[in-house]
C-alpha cells in the first residue's frame, strides 16, 4: 500500500499537470494508429513490407490494382501529427510515431497505471509543427549551461545535439537507448522555448521518469546543445503477469483529487481506485496472448527483480511483437496497471471489430450505391472479419483474395478504421470499385498462310480475330453472359468460325445459402484434328480428319473447396467429321501401298454418315488438395469423369465412358517454408485409366501418345483404344530457381484397340502401347525435354507449354 502511494503520488502529479493541447482534442482517441507502436521504425518498415508482400500476392491473382490499407486514412486524423505517413517519414530516426496515444484517456484506475498514455505517445506536438528553418542565435556566451526557463521565449533555437543523462546510472546514454525514442526533438531542429517546455512536460508526464530535466548548453555558433537528465521510474518487483483485453471498455475517468484532502480521504480515494481497477480487470476479456508468451514475460519479470520502465517497455515490445506476428495489426498495449503489486497487468486493445461496412465507389472515388448485391461480397468474407472478432490482417488479406476471385471489382480495399463511437473498436471498411458490367472487345490479327506452292502471296493474307462481349454481374448477383466469336479469316468465316456463348448463374441455392452451386449453360462449337486418324511410326501421311462439335451444355458445379468440385450436367452435341477439304466424311482414309487413297478406313461416326447427334449425361468429380510448397506443387489430385449415354441421338447411343486420373505429388524432403527458400524435390506419380462400355464412336476413343499422354510420341501415335492405361513417374529436382526432371511413361491399350470399330490402331499401323523416358528442364512456362521413344529407341527434343500433370 505504501509503495503504491509513492507511485500514485507521482501519478497524481502527472494527472494534475495541464494536459497538452492535443489532449484536449476530443477526436484524438480516434487517431488510432493501428499497428504503429512507439517503436515505429521497425513496425513501420514491417508494415511496408507487409504491404509489399500483400501487393505481391494480389498482383499474382489479378491485374487489378489492390491495396490493403493497414493504417487509417490520413484524413481520419484530426491533425497532421497522427498521420501515419508524415509521422513515419518525419521521424526518420524512429521517433514517436505521432499517434496520439490517448488510447486510454484519463489513465488507469489505481493510479500507477495511466502513465503509459504518454509513454506511448511521447512524440510531442512540436514534432508535427514543422520546424521552420530560420533560427536565431542564442545570443549568449558560448559554453555556458542555460536552464530551460532562462531561455528567451521569442527566439527560435537551433538544437545542435541532444544528450541523455541517466541520473541513476550517472552516465550519458546513447541514442540507441530505448528512452531515446520518447523524445521528439531532433538534433538540427529549430524549436522555440514553448516547444521545448512542452517536450519536457511530455516527458515528465509520460510516466517513464520519476524526474526529468532539460537544460541547454550554448555553442559558439549560436546553436545550443540539449541535455536531458532523467531518473527512470521503478516499481516493486513482480512475479506474475497478466494480459487483459480492455478494448471497447469504457475508460474510467479518475476523480480529480482535491489537494486539501485529509489523509483518510486520500486513503479512501486510493482504495476506491484500487477497487475500481480490480473490477476493471475482472470485467476485461481475456487476451489472445498465448501461454508461452506469458511464461516468457514472467521469466523476464523474474530475472529483472525490480520492475523498471525499461522492462515495461521491453514487455510491451514483446507483447506487441506477438500480435504483429500473428497479424493482429491493430493490437496495442495501452497501459500497464497494478504496478507496485506482485502482478503486472498489461492492458491491450486488440482491435475488436465493431462494424463491417461494405461501400461501393465510382471511378472518382465517390460513394455510390453499388450494383452488386452486398450478400455476394459478404459470403466471401471470412467470419473473422465480422463484428465481435479481433481484426487480423490475414483475414483481411483472405477477404481481399476471395473478393478478388469474384472478378467483379477493379479495385478492392479492406481498411480497418477506428470506431469513433466505440473506443478501441475497429470498423472494417471494404471499399469496392465495380467493373463495367458490359464490355465488348474486338481483337484482330492478320496471318499469312502459305498459298499455292507453299509461298505466301498477297491473297493469302488473312484477317482474323475474336469478338467478345461480356455482360457481367447481372442483377448484382454475379450472373454473367459471355459470348465470343473467333475466326482466322473474316472473309470466309464459315471455314472455321468458332463461337461460345455462356451463361453462368452462381448461388443456385440462394446467395445466403452456404452451398456454392453454379449453373452454367453454354453453346459452343469447336474444331479439332482427330488424333485417332494418325499414323504410327513409318506411316507417311494419314489424311487428317477434323472433328467439329457444336452443341449445348448445361451443368451444375458444386464447389467443395477452391480446387475440389463436383460438376454434373447434360451435353447435347452434333459431331461432324470432315476431311482435309472440309467435306463430310463417314470413314477415315488410308493410303494404299500403291500410293492411292482409299476412303474405306475406320468409320468416323457411330451413325456411319459422318454426322452424329447425341445427348449424354456428364459428371466430373475433382479432388484436389495440392498446395504450393515454396513454389513446388505437393499433394493429391484425383479426377473421375463419366459420360453416360442415355440412348438419345443417332443410332440411340448408349454407353458409359469413364476415366479416372490419379496424380500424387510426393514431397521427398521437408523444407522450411518461406519466400525465396528452395522448393523440395518432388516425385510425381500419375495414373490414368480410361474405358468405355457400349457405343464408342471413333472420335470418343481414347488415344495414346502425345505431350499429355505418353511423351516422346505424337498425339495418337500409339493408338486409339476402348480402354487405356497410362502410367507415369516424374522426379523433379529444384535447380537454381527452376527445376529439372526425369520421367518415364507408359501407355497401353490393354488389347482393346480391336474393340474400336474399324480398328484404327491397326489400320494406321500403330503399336497400341509404348513407353518413353527422358529428362527435361523447366524454363518459365516452357518445358524443354528430351524424350526417348522406347518403341523405336530414338530420342527427340521437345518444347512444350504448360505442365504435363
Amino acid at each position: 500500500m505504501s509503495s503504491s502511494f509513492s507511485a500514485s503520488k507521482h501519478l497524481s502529479a502527472t494527472l494534475s499537470t495541464p494536459l497538452p493541447p492535443r489532449r484536449h482534442n476530443s477526436h484524438r482517441p480516434s487517431s488510432l494508429k493501428c499497428h504503429l507502436s512507439s517503436s515505429s521504425q521497425d513496425s513501420d518498415s514491417s508494415n511496408q513490407t507487409l504491404l509489399k508482400t500483400l501487393s505481391k500476392t494480389i498482383a499474382l491473382s489479378s491485374a487489378a490494382a489492390l491495396l490493403l490499407h493497414t493504417t487509417p486514412l490520413p484524413t481520419l486524423l484530426s491533425n497532421g501529427s497522427g498521420d501515419f505517413g508524415s509521422g513515419g517519414s518525419g521521424l526518420g530516426g524512429g521517433g514517436g510515431g505521432g499517434g496520439g496515444g490517448n488510447w486510454f484517456g484519463g489513465g488507469g484506475g489505481d493510479g500507477s497505471g495511466g502513465f503509459w498514455s504518454r509513454l506511448f505517445s511521447p512524440a510531442s506536438a512540436i514534432a508535427d509543427e514543422s520546424p521552420s528553418q530560420e533560427w536565431d542565435s542564442h545570443g549568449l556566451p558560448a559554453n555556458i549551461v542555460v536552464q530551460l526557463n532562462k531561455l528567451s521565449g521569442f527566439k527560435k533555437y537551433k538544437i545542435s545535439e541532444i544528450l541523455f543523462f541517466d541520473r541513476r546510472r550517472w552516465k550519458t546514454v546513447g541514442t540507441e537507448d530505448s528512452f531515446f525514442e520518447m523524445v521528439s526533438l531532433r538534433p538540427g531542429g529549430v524549436y522555440t522555448k514553448a516547444q521545448l517546455q512542452k517536450e519536457l512536460e511530455t516527458l515528465a508526464t509520460c510516466g517513464m521518469f520519476e524526474k526529468v530535466d532539460l537544460e541547454g548548453k550554448t555553442n559558439a555558433d549560436g546553436t545550443i546543445g540539449i541535455t536531458i537528465s532523467f531518473t527512470e521510474s521503478t516499481w516493486q518487483s513482480a512475479d506474475r503477469f497478466r494480459c487483459i483485453n480492455v478494448g471497447l471498455m469504457p475508460q474510467s475517468k479518475p476523480i480529480e483529487m482535491d489537494t486539501d484532502m485529509t489523509d483518510k480521504e486520500k486513503l479512501e480515494y486510493f482504495r476506491s481506485q484500487e477497487e475500481d481497477y480490480k473490477r476493471r480487470i475482472q470485467k476485461a476479456r481475456p487476451c489472445l496472448l498465448p501461454m508461452p508468451v506469458h511464461m516468457e514475460i514472467m521469466q523476464m519479470l523474474k530475472e529483472q527483480g525490480k520492475v523498471s520502465a525499461r522492462l515495461l517497455q521491453k514487455i510491451r515490445d514483446r507483447v506487441q511483437k506477438w500480435y504483429q506476428d500473428e497479424g493482429y495489426a491493430c493490437a496495442q498495449v495501452v497501459n500497464f496497471g497494478n504496478l507496485n503489486t506482485k502482478e503486472v497487468v498489461c492492458e491491450v486493445v486488440e482491435g475488436d471489430i465493431t462494424q463491417l461496412v461494405i461501400q461501393f465507389q465510382d471511378k472518382l472515388g465517390n460513394f455510390v450505391e453499388g450494383n452488386t448485391d452486398v450478400a455476394v461480397v459478404q459470403r466471401e468474407l471470412p467470419k473473422q472479419l465480422r463484428p465481435g472478432y479481433t481484426f487480423n490482417i490475414e483475414a483481411g488479406k483472405q477477404a481481399l483474395r476471395n473478393i478478388n476471385s469474384l472478378a467483379l471489382f477493379s479495385n478492392i480495399e479492406v481498411n480497418p478504421r477506428p470506431d469513433e463511437k466505440n473506443e478501441g473498436g475497429i470498423i472494417v471498411e471494404i471499399k469496392l470499385k465495380e467493373l463495367e458490367q458490359k464490355t465488348a472487345e474486338v481483337s484482330t490479327e492478320w496471318s499469312i498462310v502459305p498459298g499455292r506452292g507453299g509461298r505466301p502471296t498477297l491473297a493469302s493474307l488473312q484477317p482474323g480475330g475474336t469478338v467478345t462481349f461480356e455482360h457481367r454481374n447481372l442483377q448484382g448477383l454475379n450472373r454473367s453472359l459471355i459470348g465470343s466469336v473467333t475466326t482466322s479469316n473474316f472473309f470466309n468465316p464459315q471455314d472455321d468460325l468458332a463461337f461460345k456463348l455462356e451463361y453462368a448463374h452462381p448461388y443456385l441455392d440462394g446467395v445466403y445459402n452456404p452451398n456454392n452451386r453454379t449453373l452454367r449453360v453454354s453453346c459452343f462449337n469447336s474444331r479439332k484434328l482427330s488424333p485417332v486418324f494418325t499414323g504410327g511410326p513409318g506411316v507417311d501421311e494419314v489424311p487428317p480428319i477434323w472433328v467439329d462439335r457444336a452443341g449445348v451444355k448445361a451443368n451444375i458445379t458444386e464447389n467443395f473447396t477452391r480446387q475440389s468440385k463436383f460438376t454434373y450436367g447434360l451435353v447435347m452435341e452434333e459431331i461432324t467429321t470432315r476431311d482435309e477439304s472440309s467435306h463430310i466424311c463417314a470413314n477415315g482414309q488410308r493410303v494404299l501401298p500403291s500410293g492411292g487413297i482409299s476412303a474405306d478406313g475406320p468409320p468416323t461416326t457411330l451413325s456411319g454418315t459422318g454426322i452424329d447427334r447425341m445427348a449424354f449425361l456428364q459428371a466430373n468429380i475433382t479432388r484436389d488438395n495440392t498446395k504450393f510448397v515454396n513454389g513446388a506443387i505437393v499433394g493429391d489430385r484425383n479426377v473421375f469423369q463419366v459420360d453416360q449415354g442415355i440412348g438419345v441421338g443417332s443410332n440411340f447411343p448408349f454407353f458409359n465412358r469413364h476415366q479416372l486420373t490419379v496424380t500424387r505429388f510426393i514431397q521427398l524432403m521437408s523444407v522450411e517454408e518461406g519466400a525465396s527458400k528452395p522448393p523440395p524435390p518432388v516425385l510425381v506419380l500419375h495414373g490414368h485409366y480410361g474405358g468405355c462400355v457400349g457405343d464408342l464412336p471413333s472420335y470418343d476413343a481414347f488415344t495414346l501418345g502425345g505431350p499429355y499422354s505418353v511423351r516422346g510420341y505424337n498425339m495418337g501415335e500409339l493408338g486409339a483404344a476402348r480402354n487405356i492405361l497410362e502410367l507415369a513417374a516424374e522426379l523433379r529436382v529444384p535447380v537454381k530457381g527452376t527445376h529439372v526432371y526425369a520421367f518415364a511413361e507408359h501407355g497401353n491399350d490393354l488389347g482393346s484397340s480391336k474393340d474400336v470399330k474399324g480398328n484404327p490402331t491397326e489400320v494406321y499401323r500403330r503399336m497400341g502401347h509404348g513407353s518413353s523416358y527422358g529428362v527435361g528442364l523447366k524454363l518459365g512456362l516452357v518445358r524443354a525435354e528430351y524424350a526417348i521413344d522406347h518403341n523405336s529407341g530414338t530420342g527427340a527434343l521437345f518444347f512444350r507449354f504448360g505442365e504435363r500433370f
Binding site: T561, L592, F640, V642, N656, G694, V756
Partner: protein, 304 residues
C-alpha cells in the same frame, strides 16, 4: 459364281491312274460320310504357290499363275463336280503387302466368302525357307482375327517347293520336320492358340511340289524326294481334316464384322454406372470432406 453351272471335274483324268484311284476312293469315303460338297480355302503369303496348288488339285490350269508379280487382288473360286460330289477351291490373293497385312485384300476375301462354308483351310508356305519371321505371325493373326480360332482345327499346312535338297546334307525328313515345327510354332503364337487348343487338333503338314518337272514314280505319280506321292497325300489329308469332328466355318456377316464391340456389355451399363456412383464418386467425395477437415488453417482462423 453360284449362277455359273458347275463344271465336271475333268482334270482328275489327267492324274496318274494310281492317283485317280486314290482320289476316287477318298471321294467315296467323303460321300459315305454324307459330305457332298467340300470347300477349300487357300491362303498364305504372296508368291508361295497358292494358285499353283489350286491348279494341281483341280488338274487344270484354272487360275492364272503370275510369277514375279502379285496376283490379282480378287479371290477366285473354282468349282468342279464329279459323281454328285462338288469340290470348291478358293484361291486368294497374298495377304502381305509391303511388310504389312494387306487389310484391303483381307476385307475383299472376307466379303467374297460371305455366306460360304469353309471346310478346309489350306495354309500355304514354302518349304525352302530357313527362317520364320513376324510376317508369318501376322498372317496367322489376320486369319484368326477374320475367321476365329476355330478355323485352325480345319486347317492344314502345305509346304510348296518340296523338291528341294536341304543344305549341308541335312536329311530331307529332318529338315521337313524342323521347318514345319518352326512354322507351326509361329502360327500357333500368331493365332493365339493355346496348348490346350492344339492338342485335339494338331495341324497336319503336307509337302507339295507343283513344278511340272516334279519327279514321278514308276506308276507316273508325282512324288517327293522321299518317295511319297504328294497329290494323294494332300487329298487324303484334306479328307481327314474335312472329316474331323470340328465344325466347318460358316462365314456370315457376324463373322466378318467380328463381334460388335459396341454391343458387348451394354446390358451392364446401368450397373456399371451405379457402381461408379457408389464406389468411385462417393469415396472421392469422402476424400474431399476429409481434406476439408484436415486442412491446416492459419492460426488466426482457429482463434475464437
Amino acid at each position: 459364281m453360284g449362277s455359273q453351272a458347275i463344271r465336271e471335274w475333268a482334270g482328275i483324268n489327267t492324274f496318274a491312274p494310281a492317283t485317280q484311284t486314290k482320289l476316287l476312293e477318298l471321294l467315296g469315303k467323303l460321300k459315305q460320310e454324307n459330305v457332298n460338297t467340300l470347300t477349300i480355302l487357300v491362303m498364305g503369303k504372296g508368291g508361295v504357290g497358292k494358285s499353283s496348288i489350286v491348279n494341281s488339285i483341280i488338274g487344270e490350269r484354272v487360275v492364272a499363275i503370275s510369277p514375279f508379280q502379285s496376283e490379282g487382288p480378287r479371290p477366285v473360286m473354282v468349282s468342279r463336280s464329279r459323281a454328285g460330289f462338288t469340290l470348291n477351291v478358293i484361291d486368294t490373293p497374298g495377304l502381305i503387302e509391303g511388310g504389312y497385312i494387306n487389310n484391303m485384300a483381307l476385307d475383299i476375301i472376307k466379303s467374297f466368302l460371305l455366306n460360304k462354308t469353309i471346310d478346309v483351310l489350306l495354309y500355304v508356305d514354302r518349304l525352302d525357307v530357313y527362317r520364320v519371321d513376324n510376317l508369318d505371325k501376322l498372317v496367322a493373326k489376320a486369319i484368326t482375327d477374320s475367321f476365329g480360332k476355330g478355323i485352325w482345327s480345319k486347317a492344314l499346312i502345305a509346304l510348296t517347293h518340296a523338291q528341294f535338297s536341304p543344305p549341308d546334307g541335312l536329311p530331307y525328313d529332318e529338315f521337313f520336320s524342323k521347318r514345319s515345327e518352326a512354322l507351326l510354332k509361329v502360327i500357333r503364337s500368331g493365332a493365339r492358340l493355346k496348348k490346350d487348343d492344339s492338342q485335339d487338333s494338331t495341324i497336319p503338314v503336307v509337302l507339295v511340289e507343283n513344278s511340272a518337272r516334279c519327279n514321278k514314280n514308276e506308276s507316273d505319280e508325282k512324288v517327293l524326294p522321299n518317295g511319297t506321292a504328294w497329290i494323294s497325300w494332300l487329298v487324303q489329308t484334306i479328307t481327314e481334316v474335312a472329316l474331323n469332328r470340328s465344325e466347318s466355318i460358316h462365314v456370315d456377316k457376324k463373322l466378318i464384322d467380328g463381334p460388335n464391340p459396341n454391343q458387348s456389355g451394354k446390358l451392364w451399363i446401368p450397373l456399371i454406372f451405379a457402381l461408379q456412383y457408389f464406389f468411385v464418386m462417393k469415396p472421392i467425395e469422402g476424400f474431399i470432406k476429409n481434406d476439408i477437415a484436415n486442412e491446416s488453417r492459419p492460426s488466426w482462423e482457429t482463434f475464437e
